[in-house]
Subunit: 163 residues, 2 copies
């Protein structure tokens, strides 16, 4: 009988960047991710919502290791040159909380519980990228340790901290 | 030696819904997800980007099984009553492609390859929710089968189709 949540991780080494107002045409996402991969930059969480700008453009956000941030400008510069309305925007300092659960697809409401545990501490959720097997959300960096602690507590995993 | 991508799945049973312009305060995400869970509605992909509306509100998008769509209005109605500027908006018909790879965190550029395979067919990527272990994106429903086929081909998994 699988536990609903198997492990919860806190990542304090990520920084969040968005490419704002990119052309919403095939190839855009591929170009951005390829340029960063070619620069040896690993992307952790990639988020693109369904929202569009008035000119039809989109935002694509991702998180990357803080140490890689300085190389990202150089990596993306050739692409951004082709997109006059697009630019890079840094988010505030973040912490990423992710919970992996073998039990999660079958267990309704795991994400709700994680979000509730975090909300009860008055911590705002800044980004969400969740799939059946993994609930991942981003909070302000200063709230990371608290968020990890309360989510652990919520699932009775107090003694199994994983970073 | 782990393959970069272990399995690629196509889900044609999901529909995409956004809750538009919800209050960006602790508890909002928890309330939405709890209400849906209480109505026995499983959420597959939950996406919240960093974007804000002019009034500070946010959008939260999710995908759910088509059969559950009719129950979602009822489930969310008590919450939406408290948020006068918020409303539900349906996306167009979608297909969800997700690739799981044991090799993915160590292998740079897996997302880039998946997005490139899809882009080469002229298929637009509508939403992205990707983490280290799983690349998940959404295309128009009519493009789903083609997207699955080309991603399989790209990773040499032509003979291991999984739905
Ligand atoms: C915005 C970006 O995702 C674009 N739609 C693409 O397919 O690459
Ligand atoms: C918008 C929503 O994610 C809100 N910030 C919350 O914490 O619940």
């Amino acid at each position: 009988d699988e536990p609903e949540v198997r492990g919860i991780a806190l990542d304090l080494e990520q920084t969040q960047v968005s490419v704002i107002n990119v052309p919403d045409i095939p190839g855009t996402a591929a170009k951005i991710c390829k340029a960063l991969a070619d620069a040896r930059i690993s992307l952790d969480t990639i988020v693109q919502s369904e929202r569009k700008h008035d000119n039809g453009g989109r935002n694509i956000s991702f998180t990357l290791n803080k140490n890689d941030r300085k190389n990202a400008d150089q990596a993306l510069e050739p692409i951004l040159k082709d997109w006059p309305n697009a630019f890079l925007k840094d988010g505030n300092a973040i912490a990423r909380i992710s919970a992996v659960g073998a039990g999660m697809p079958e267990t309704l409401g795991t994400a709700a519980k994680i979000f509730r545990a975090i909300a009860n501490e008055g911590i705002n959720i800044e980004m969400i990228a969740t799939s059946e097997i993994r609930t991942s959300c981003i909070v302000a960096e200063k709230d990371g340790e608290t968020a990890l602690k309360v989510v652990h507590k919520f699932f009775g995993l107090d003694n199994k901290l994983s970073h």
